[in-house]
């Protein structure tokens, strides 16, 4: 019994850490830029495949991939924002119209990224083994790579949280999320902040992809699954709330692990039920205003 409880707790922490990480990225893009980026999961997928290629072709450790992928994904997100969403924003009549058209544009991105990946990596399942020796914690057994992924997910999320609350740029981002017009009046370069937020969102997705590749098998069509989980977490925590996404990620991680323990077939159903109930009862989420 004790081991089962411990199993569920640590299992919940591991998936919760990953969920929090991917949700924070999405939340940042929506909360500040009002782009509900459904191609978010595709960045995760690319992160995972890039790590796989680096590991199997060049023998580069996934932990070094974190450092390589980070800046590349940031630039990728930055450029995509400039090329597509910046232009779309300038043309939209209202913020609601922009939210709808940017959602559709990100569907376009989803198709593009996913199919480029299918052309490069083919549709097969891929995976590699890295640090897959077992570690026993008080009787509950986990592979080392899962614990390392959890550690990094927590470190990345926390450092991001500190960046948001302690630095000047972080404060500008939060101000822009709160009220873009006033932030602009106060001297925040809103276009730069929006581009940085999108870049940071892509960066978080890329890093999550690197961590996910250490634990699970991957295929180019896996992105949407993660996008959906990220959207559910973000709705649970409140659209646009970073703290909400962090907490929501762990809540969903625990629920998922518990439900999987009862009946593995029910976990996705449980996610959707929570999602729908949340939207019906309190659409603004746990931490929403």
């Amino acid at each position: 019994m004790f081991v089962t409880v411990l199993d569920v707790i640590i299992g919940g922490l591991i998936s919760g850490g990953i969920y929090a990480l991917i949700a924070v990225g999405l939340s940042l893009q929506y909360g500040v830029g009002r782009v509900l980026n459904v191609s978010h999961g595709e960045f995760i997928m690319i992160g995972a495949f890039a790590t796989w290629s680096l590991y199997t072709v060049f023998g580069i450790s996934p932990l070094i991939s974190l450092v390589i992928c980070g800046p590349i994904f940031f630039i990728l997100g930055f450029v995509i924002n400039r090329a597509i969403f910046e232009y779309l924003r300038s043309k939209s009549e209202s913020i609601d119209a922009f939210a709808a058209s940017s959602l559709l544009a990100s569907f376009g991105l989803l198709f593009i990224i996913q199919n480029v990946a299918l052309i490069i990596w083919k549709a097969d399942l891929r995976g590699y083994s890295y640090l897959d020796s077992s570690v026993s914690i008080l009787g509950a057994v986990f592979t080392a790579n899962r614990l390392i992924a959890l550690l990094f997910a927590v470190v990345i999320s926390l450092s991001f949280y500190i960046f948001l609350t302690r630095t000047r740029l972080g404060k500008a981002i939060r101000a822009a999320a709160e009220d873009p017009v006033t932030a602009q009046v106060m001297g925040v370069n809103i276009h730069r902040v929006l581009a940085i937020c999108f870049g940071l969102g892509a960066l978080m997705a890329g890093l999550a992809g690197v961590l996910i590749s250490m634990m699970y098998e991957m295929r180019p069509t896996m992105g949407l699954e993660y996008t959906i989980i990220a959207i559910i977490v973000v709705v649970l925590g409140g659209l646009g709330s970073i703290t909400g996404s962090l907490v929501g990620g762990f809540i969903l991680g625990f629920i998922g692990t518990i439900v999987t323990y009862i009946d593995p077939g029910l976990s996705l159903i449980a996610y959707y039920v929570i999602f729908i109930l949340m939207l019906l009862v309190k659409p603004t989420g746990i931490f929403g205003k």
Partner: protein, 311 residues
Amino acid sequence: MDSARVIYKRPFSLGMLFLFLILLATMPLYVQPYFIILLNTVFMYIIITLSWAIFSGPTRYISLASAAFFGVGAYVSAVIGQVLSLPLFIATGGLVSFILALFIGLLTLRLKGIYFIIFTFGVSELIRHFILWWEAKFAGTVGRWVVAVDHTTVYYVMLIIFILALLTAYHIRRSKFGLALRSIGEHEEAAAHIGISVTILKTITFAISAFFMGATGAIMATRWTYIDPGIAFNPLFSFMPVLMAIFGGIGQLYGPILGATILTLLEEVLITEFPYYYMLLFGIILIAVILFLPNGLVGLIEKLGKRGNKG
């Protein structure tokens, strides 16, 4: 004022439409069977896109629940297709989707904008995963066999559903009902203030559009002869109508039809040999249309038409 009325005033266009329908009705008599199968797919997308536009066009509520209504229709024909006659189970498929849409519509009244979009997507995926789980747990299967119907019959059923959907869309656009829907799209609070029963109107229109999707799902299942939740509730059936309608342009009735036809034919040409390139191209077209053609092909045609008149 709006296209429907303009068409109405031009008997020429109406006559053309009539001739075109006669051409479509006699098609199976003189074309290759392959062409009929292709037309069935084209019709499937046209009907889903057109009925999506009946609700989402004027109200500007973007629904991603099309796959749910389509899939429910498909499952109805899998479950009762052997028992009931063809017209009966097709109508039942539509009716069950109609009722489901009434229910979803009543639930989602509070949700607007982005919340409505992700809610409809969530509902659709929930139904898919629930049926997947149910079938594995209680029926002990993954998919179901559907009673087979020959291609010509499928074609005529599709044609009838298409004509019904077109007539419905046309009449809604021309009526007070359609005007009220457009006013919801313009400014919902104002619409409610001038005495439009926003709630009832939205829900009923949502259900009407779901009816046609359900009926299409029911007939399409007989063409596939085998369905599972992955086929019937494929999320692409939710995305495609949105993309096709936007590509064609939702300002006019013929926009969604044009968009669905062109993209389905493009799919047919590309998908067997270059499936990934097709979806890649699809993504590029989508982004290009959103960035540069916000009113779709219809907007482009109107712009060119105006330019032509001036010159």
